[in-house]
C-alpha cells in the first residue's frame, strides 16, 4: 500500500513463477480503491500464482484498455518464496502466536497473491466496465455488474450519494439485512451509491485476514465491485493492525492516499488521510492507536489539511465518537473524549459540516451544534438549531455558503451496522437516538445535504437536511430542546440504592402479588444501601417496570438472611400471578429450579443441585432467550461450587417486567440489579 511496493511485476513474477504454475483461483474481490477523476485502483487476490491482467472499456463487450505488468502492484503471503523486495501480506509475529487461540491465526492464508491494478488516464465522471484475468483466463467481470465510475473533476458541482456504515463486520444476518436494505433503497429511489464510507469495526472480532474476507469482502462484494470503500480503522481491526507502523490485515486490504493522490495534503501514512470529490473535502482520522494529543502529528496534519481545503462541504470521519451514550460513553472513555476535546475544535474552527463515527452500537444524530468540548457533554450554550433539521419539519439546519468556522455541525454515530445494539444513557446534544440496526445514506446536491437513516428492514427512521446558502449568523440557544432521559428506552441499566434514603420505598417497583409495603431501602454498616423485601403470609411478586423484555440478561446480588430457609427467585415472563416464569434458589432442597407456572401449576423445566448458603452475598445471573435459559450462580466467598447451566425451553416466555419472587413468610436483601435488554 505504499510506494515501497512499486517494482517491476514482470521481474517479480519471474522470481516466483515455477514452471509448473497453474492458474490461481480468485480468493478476494475484485474491489475498487482510491478513485480520483482520472484514476482508480482495482484490487483482487488469487489463491495460487497467476499473471494479473485488468481490461476495461466503455462496455462489457469492448474492454479495449489493459493494465498489466508494471502497472499492477503485487503483494504475497509470507510463505511464498519470492524476492525480498516484494511486499509481504500480514504474518503474525512469532512472539504473539503463543498468546492466542490455536484456531485464530490472523495471518494471511498461505499461497495468497494480492494484485493492485493502477488504472490511469480515465475521463472524469465516466463509467467503465472491467474484467480481471489470469493471463487470458477470465477470473471475474466482463459483465454489466462489474464497472467503476471515475469521479467528476474536483470542484465541479456536487451531486453524490454516499453510504455510511459502521460496526458491521460480524458476518451475521443483521449485517446482511442492513446491506440489503441499502441496496433495496437505492434501487427504489433510482440512484446508486457513488461512495462508501466505513467508520470502522468491519472485521470482528480481531480484524484478522480471514475475518476481513468472511465479514467484510464476502458480504459486501456486490457493492465493493462498483464502489470505493473509504475506511477508518476500528478498535477491532486494531487487534491485529497497527496505525503506527501501517502493518496488518487492515492496511493490506486498503489502498488510500498518503501523498495527496486524491486531493488534500500528504499524510505520509494510511492511518489518516483526506480526499476531495466534487465540492466536498473528506478527512479520515485514526482515533484508535495514534497519538491524539493536540500537538501530535495527526493533529498537525489535520490543521495543515484544513488550511488548504477549499471546498464547499467538509465531512470528517473516524471510529470513536465524540458524543455518544450507546454501547460506549464519550464522557468516560479516553479515546472518545480526546477526539472531542482535541479534534473537534480544529474541525469546527475550519467549518466542518458533518462528523461520522461508529464504535458505539447505536444510531445517534445531533442537532446543529458547535463548541461542545466539555466533559461531560452538555447541550447548554452549544446548540445553534435545536429543531429536527428536516425540510418539511422544523426546517433544515442552515449554514452560510462555503466553509465558515463555528457555524455548526451535525454529529452522527452510525455504529449500528450489524453488531449487537445497545443504549446506556442519553447524550443531551442528540436529536435522534435510535436503537435499531441500520445505516446512513447521505445525498449531497449543490448546497443541500440530506441524511437518511435506514433501518435493517429498509424503513426510513430519520431524515435531516443541512442547507448552506447565503450568509447565516448563528445564534446559540440558551435553553435548547433536549432528548428525554427515559430509562425505559435504555437497553442497559444498573439499579442501586445508594441515592435512596434509608427507610423509604424504592421508586419504580411494583408489587403485583403480596404485601404492597414490603419493600424498603436499608443501610448496611459499611454505608452501602440495599433493598430489603419481606413477604408475609402470601408470596411476594415484585417487578421493576423498566426491566421489560422477553430476551434479556438479569443479574443481582442477593443475600438470604440466616433464618430464610425458604429461598427466593427471579421472576420473568409474567402475565398474571398464576402465569409466569421463575428461577428459584431453594436452600431446603439444595437446588436451583427453573419453572413455568401455568394457571397456578408449577411445571418444572429443570433442577440443578446447588448449595444455597444464607448470610452470604450471592451473585445470581440469568440470561433468557426465546429458546433457552442460562443460569450462573456463586457465593461471594466462593465457598460453594459455582453453578452454571443452560436449559432449552419449548416456547418463549412473554415479554414482561422482570423482578423477584419470595415465598410466604420469608425475606431477602438485594444489593443491586443489572439488566440488559436483548430484545432489540
Amino acid at each position: 500500500m505504499t510506494n515501497l511496493r512499486l517494482f517491476s511485476l514482470a521481474l517479480a513474477l519471474a522470481t516466483i513463477l515455477p514452471a509448473w504454475a497453474s492458474a490461481g483461483s480468485l480468493a478476494r474481490g475484485p474491489y475498487l480503491q482510491q478513485a480520483t477523476s482520472n484514476s482508480i485502483v482495482v484490487v483482487w487476490r488469487t489463491k495460487g500464482v497467476s499473471t494479473p491482467v485488468l481490461r476495461y472499456g466503455n462496455s462489457p463487450d469492448a474492454l479495449t484498455e489493459e493494465v498489466s505488468g508494471d502497472s499492477v502492484i503485487l503483494r504475497v503471503s509470507a510463505d511464498i518464496n519470492a524476492a525480498t523486495n516484494i511486499p509481504r501480506l500480514y504474518k503474525e509475529p512469532a512472539d504473539e502466536i503463543d498468546q492466542r487461540e490455536a484456531d485464530h491465526d490472523p495471518s494471511t492464508a498461505a499461497n495468497t497473491y494480492q494484485f493492485e491494478a493502477q488504472v490511469s488516464g480515465l475521463q472524469p465522471d465516466s463509467k467503465y466496465y472491467y474484467a480481471i484475468y489470469d493471463n487470458n483466463q477470465p477470473l471475474a467481470g466482463g459483465d454489466e455488474n462489474h464497472y467503476f465510475v471515475s469521479h467528476p473533476r474536483i470542484g465541479s458541482s456536487t451531486d453524490m450519494r454516499l453510504w455510511v456504515v459502521g460496526d458491521s463486520g460480524t458476518g451475521e444476518i443483521e449485517q446482511a439485512m442492513v446491506h440489503d436494505a441499502m441496496r433495496a433503497y437505492v434501487s427504489r429511489t433510482g440512484r446508486s451509491v457513488d461512495h462508501y464510507i466505513h467508520v470502522g469495526d468491519m472485521a470482528y472480532s480481531d480484524g484478522t485476514d480471514r475475518e476481513f474476507q468472511d465479514n467484510f469482502f464476502a458480504p459486501y462484494q456486490t457493492t465493493l465491485r462498483n464502489t470505493v470503500c473509504w475506511p477508518a480503522m476500528g478498535n477491532h481491526e486494531g487487534h491485529t493492525s497497527r496505525g503506527i507502523s501501517g502493518i496488518g490485515p487492515y492496511y493490506d486490504a486498503y489502498v488510500v492516499p498518503t501523498r495527496a493522490e486524491a486531493g488534500g495534503v500528504a499524510s505520509g501514512t494510511e492511518a489518516y488521510y483526506s480526499f476531495d470529490i466534487e465540492e466536498v473535502h473528506f478527512t479520515c482520522l485514526d482515533s484508535h492507536d495514534l497519538d491524539r494529543s493536540p500537538d501530535a502529528a495527526m493533529a498537525q496534519w489535520l490543521r495543515a489539511d484544513l488550511e488548504q481545503a477549499n471546498a464547499k462541504w467538509l465531512v470528517a470521519f473516524w471510529h470513536h465518537p465524540p458524543y455518544t451514550k450507546g454501547s460506549h460513553d464519550s464522557d468516560r472513555e479516553q479515546q472518545l473524549a480526546e477526539m472531542r476535546e482535541n479534534f473537534m475544535p480544529i474541525l469546527e474552527s475550519s467549518g466542518v459540516d458533518l462528523t461520522l463515527t461508529g464504535h458505539s452500537h447505536i444510531y445517534e444524530r445531533s442537532m446543529l451544534m458547535d463548541g461542545a468540548y466539555d466533559t461531560p457533554t452538555t447541550a447548554k450554550g452549544v446548540i445553534l438549531d435545536d429543531g429536527d433539521g428536516r425540510i418539511g419539519g422544523d426546517g433544515a439546519y442552515r449554514k452560510s455558503k462555503g466553509l465558515r468556522p463555528h457555524e455548526g455541525s451535525v454529529s452522527i454515530v452510525s455504529g449500528h451496522g450489524g453488531a449487537g445494539i445497545s443504549r446506556q444513557g442519553t447524550m443531551p446534544v442528540m436529536r435522534e437516538i435510535i436503537i435499531e440496526h441500520g445505516s446512513v445514506i447521505l445525498d449531497i446536491e449543490g448546497d443541500t445535504l440530506t441524511g437518511t437513516m435506514l433501518n435493517k428492514q429498509g424503513q426510513i427512521r430519520d431524515v435531516f437536511n443541512i442547507v448552506k446558502r447565503g450568509r447565516v449568523r448563528p445564534v446559540r440557544i440558551k435553553n435548547p430542546w433536549q432528548p428525554i432521559h427515559d430509562i425505559s428506552l435504555l437497553t442497559e441499566l444498573l439499579l442501586e440504592f445508594n441515592d435512596v434514603a434509608p427507610g423509604s420505598a424504592p421508586e419504580g417497583w411494583r408489587v403485583v402479588s403480596g404485601n404492597p409495603s414490603s419493600l424498603a431501602v436499608t443501610a448496611e454498616p459499611n454505608g452501602e444501601n440495599l433493598l430489603r423485601a419481606e413477604a408475609n403470609a402470601e408470596p411476594l411478586l415484585a417487578q421493576y417496570a423498566q426491566f421489560d423484555s422477553s430476551a434479556f440478561e438479569f443479574e443481582t446480588g442477593i443475600r438470604l438472611p440466616p433464618e430464610n430457609e425458604k429461598g427466593a427467585g427471579l421472576l420473568f415472563g409474567y402475565r398474571d400471578p398464576r402465569n409466569f416464569g421463575r428461577i428459584y434458589l431453594d436452600p431446603a432442597a439444595s437446588v436451583i429450579r427453573v419453572s413455568r407456572f401455568v394457571d397456578g401449576s408449577e411445571n418444572i423445566i429443570t433442577e440443578e443441585a446447588a448449595q444455597i448458603p444464607s448470610g452470604l452475598w450471592l451473585k445470581f445471573e440469568i440470561q433468557v432467550t426465546d429458546v433457552d435459559i442460562e443460569v450462573q450462580f456463586q457465593d461471594e466467598a466462593e465457598q460453594t461450587r459455582e453453578i452454571e447451566f443452560t436449559i432449552g425451553i419449548d416456547s418463549p416466555f412473554p415479554k414482561s417486567p422482570i423482578g423477584f419472587y419470595l415465598p410466604p413468610d420469608s425475606s431477602a436483601e438485594f444489593l443491586y440489579f443489572e439488566f440488559q435488554d436483548n430484545d432489540r
Binding site: D95, Q99, R100, T170, Y204, S205, D206, H236, G246, R259, A266, G268, T269, D291, S293, P294, D295, A297, Q300, W301, R303, E307, Q308, S327, H328, E333, Q334, P345, I346, E348, S349, S350, D370, A372, Y373, V382, L403, P405, A419, G420, I421, S422, Q424, R476, T491, E492, L494, N498, E528, G557, W617, K619, Q634, E636, A637, E638, E644, L671, Q676, N678
Partner: protein
C-alpha cells in the same frame, strides 16, 4: 460501577462472544475478562487485554498493575513491556519507565523490534529534558524501516532545544525524503527559519500562502523572518493580518487552543504583551504543551519598540 465484591466464572461462550456482542463498553469487557481470569487463571494475554481496556478509561494505576502481572507471567512480552513503560510515563514514574524501556530493547537486536522501545526511552528522556540522550534514543527509533512521523518530530524537537538548528534542518530534510507528510515538511520550514535560511524558508512560505485558505500560520512564520531581519513594518502587517483571521475563527466560548496560541504569537509581534501573555496562559490551560507554545516571551523580549507607539488595529 458498583458490583458485588466477588466474581463468578463466565462461560467460555460469553468470553469468546464478547467483542462482537452489544455490550462491549470497556466496563463490560473488563468484567468479562476478570471473570475469565478468575475461571481459567491469569494469562499474559488476558491481563494485557484487560490493561488495554483500563487504558481506554484512563485508569493508569490499573493499567500498570495488569501489565505488571502480565510481565510476571511472561517477562518477554513486548506488549506488556511497552504498555508498562507507557503507564509509567503517564504516571510520572520516569526511572521505572526508563528501566522498562531498556528491558524492551534487550528483547530484539533488529531495528524494527527495538524502535518502539527507543521511542519510549526518548520520551522518558524528553520528560527529563535530557535532550542529548533523547536525541540519541530517537535516532535509535528512526533506524526502523517504518518510523512514525512523531519520531522524526521528536528528534527535531531535541535539536531545537540543543540549538543545533542546522542539524535539525538536515534531519528534517532527510525525514521528508523518507516520508511525504506535510507535517514534516512544515517542521522543516520552521527549522529553516530558526537556522537563518530565510531565502529557502521564504520560498516555501510564499508557496504555502498561495495554496492556503487559512493563512495565519504562514503569516506568523513570515513575521518571524521579518522580525529577525528587523523589517518591523512588514512584521506588524503580517501579525495584524494573522490576528484578524485568527479572531474570525476563534469561538469566544470554546476556543481552539492552537488558535489561541497563534493569537498570542500575533499579539506579541504587535507589541501587545499583556494580551499575549494572557492568551498564552489560556492556551496552556487548554492543553497545549509547553514545547509547542510559540516562544511568546522571547518575542516580547526581543521585539523592538514600535516607533509609532502601540499598534492600533
Amino acid at each position: 460501577m458498583k458490583r458485588c465484591p466477588f466474581l463468578i466464572a463466565a462461560s467460555a461462550v460469553l468470553a469468546a462472544a464478547l467483542p462482537a456482542s452489544g455490550h462491549e463498553g470497556p466496563d463490560h469487557v473488563i468484567e468479562a475478562l476478570t471473570e475469565r481470569i478468575q475461571a481459567q487463571g491469569p494469562t499474559a494475554k488476558l491481563l494485557i487485554s484487560r490493561a488495554y481496556e483500563h487504558q481506554s478509561l484512563g485508569n493508569w494505576n490499573a493499567v500498570l498493575a495488569d501489565f505488571g502481572a502480565a510481565l510476571d507471567l511472561d517477562s518477554r512480552s513486548r506488549a506488556a513491556l511497552s504498555g508498562y513503560t507507557e503507564a509509567s510515563l503517564q504516571l510520572g514514574a520516569l526511572p521505572q519507565a526508563e528501566s522498562m524501556a531498556r528491558r524492551g530493547l534487550e528483547l530484539d537486536e533488529d531495528a524494527l523490534g527495538q524502535s518502539p522501545f527507543y521511542a519510549l526511552l526518548a520520551r522518558v528522556f524528553a520528560e527529563q529534558q535530557r535532550w542529548s540522550d533523547a536525541r540519541e534514543a530517537w535516532r535509535g527509533a528512526l533506524r526502523s524501516p517504518r518510523p512514525e512521523i512523531d519520531w522524526f518530530l521528536g528528534e527535531a524537537e531535541c535539536l531545537d532545544h540543543l540549538d543545533r538548528h542546522r542539524e535539525r534542518v538536515e534531519a528534517l530534510l532527510l525525514a521528508t525524503e523518507r516520508n511525504p507528510s506535510v507535517v514534516l515538511h512544515r517542521a522543516w520550514i520552521h527549522a529553516l527559519v530558526d537556522a537563518g535560511d530565510f531565502e529557502t524558508a521564504s520560498q516555501e512560505i510564499e508557496n504555502g500562502l498561495s495554496k492556503s485558505r487559512w493563512k495565519s500560520s504562514w503569516l506568523l512564520l513570515r513575521a518571524r523572518i521579518y522580525a529577525q531581519r528587523q523589517l518591523y513594518t512588514q512584521q506588524w502587517a503580517d501579525a495584524a493580518d494573522a490576528l484578524t483571521e485568527i479572531r474570525s475563527r476563534l469561538s469566544v466560548e470554546h476556543p481552539d487552543p492552537h488558535l489561541v496560541a497563534e493569537a498570542a504569537q500575533a499579539l506579541a509581534f504587535l507589541g501587545k504583551n499583556d494580551e499575549a501573555l494572557a492568551y498564552i496562559k489560556n492556551a496552556r490551560d487548554l492543553g497545549i504543551s509547553e514545547s509547542h507554545l510559540p516562544e511568546v516571551t522571547r518575542i516580547i523580549e526581543s521585539a523592538p519598540i514600535n516607533p509609532q507607539g502601540k499598534y492600533v488595529e
